[in-house]
Symmetry: C2
Subunit: 197 residues, 2 copies
Amino acid sequence: MESERLEKQIQFIVEIDKLKQIYRQTYLMDGSRRENSVEHSWHLALMTVLLAEYSPSESLDLFRVLKMVLIHDLVEIDAGDTLCYDEKARRSQKSRELMAADRIFNLLPPDQAGKMRDLWDEFEASLTPEAGFARAIDRMQPVLHNYHTRGAAWRKHGVTRDQVVTRNHEIEKAAPELWDYIHALIERAVEKGYLLP
Amino acid sequence: MESERLEKQIQFIVEIDKLKQIYRQTYLMDGSRRENSVEHSWHLALMTVLLAEYSPSESLDLFRVLKMVLIHDLVEIDAGDTLCYDEKARRSQKSRELMAADRIFNLLPPDQAGKMRDLWDEFEASLTPEAGFARAIDRMQPVLHNYHTRGAAWRKHGVTRDQVVTRNHEIEKAAPELWDYIHALIERAVEKGYLLP
């Protein structure tokens, strides 16, 4: 194994440490602080393993889903976290994230850069059952966090029920039973005053 | 799918959020703060994917390694993080962690509790190539962090070269080339004054 290859891999491993400092809008379950994108990604990975049985796909490649959720936010190292209900920021999000993907994945040796980029592109394109399931889990996790913090991030940003339903409805196709659960949680959040009607 | 099952899964998913608040001795690569066990686990997962080629095992089940590194620290929710060079704390570590494993994994439905516990036991027993590789990556990551923070945690605790070599030598069997790299990094750390000779 040439050491130049390992040096590149280590350089990437050191670089991605920066994602630990990208804070999201979502709060930890106890409301004590916002969570960062690494914590979010780890949580998605465990949710993927535990909730895979709710995918209607009988041949879901869970290993690929896992890799997708682990890397899907790496572009935020350069592009930052974009609030999903901020329409203005979302217009420039795609181009910012594409530039970030070009830089960050290419720190790796070319073969691994290509594989990582393919996984990231697959997640973004959302055309495969694996991407669909990864995205459903990515949608679902912040709803759980919001519900258990009595709507901390929702209330801070004046988010409404319709916004949350529109954004999360994509869960239904990838995991109908998880959508039923999340949908009920959203309605309960409105009843409890965690979310604007 | 009975909803009692999903309720248990969600309860576990909410519970493990607490691992985001278990801080380790290791500092982020920029030295700004200590990292927590979730950040550490995510980093191991990506390192596992990227460095698997250094395992001499030709049939390494990477998916299982990934699951192991993602869950290996969950017991710290109850047992806390134990400094690896604190001999007194390490004596009670095993019994504290076993109690934690009994409580935490059993929040899940029995079939999933059993699978998670098997993965955790496998990591702890360190008898399979998968556990060996997961543990090698678990050893390697803090050395990278220490080196890139000019020995922040090593200097704080007065750790010596021999302690680090003894602890990390286990990497050699699971991934000889990674051990060569880490061994050289340890020697360079001594030369630079990051680590006591």
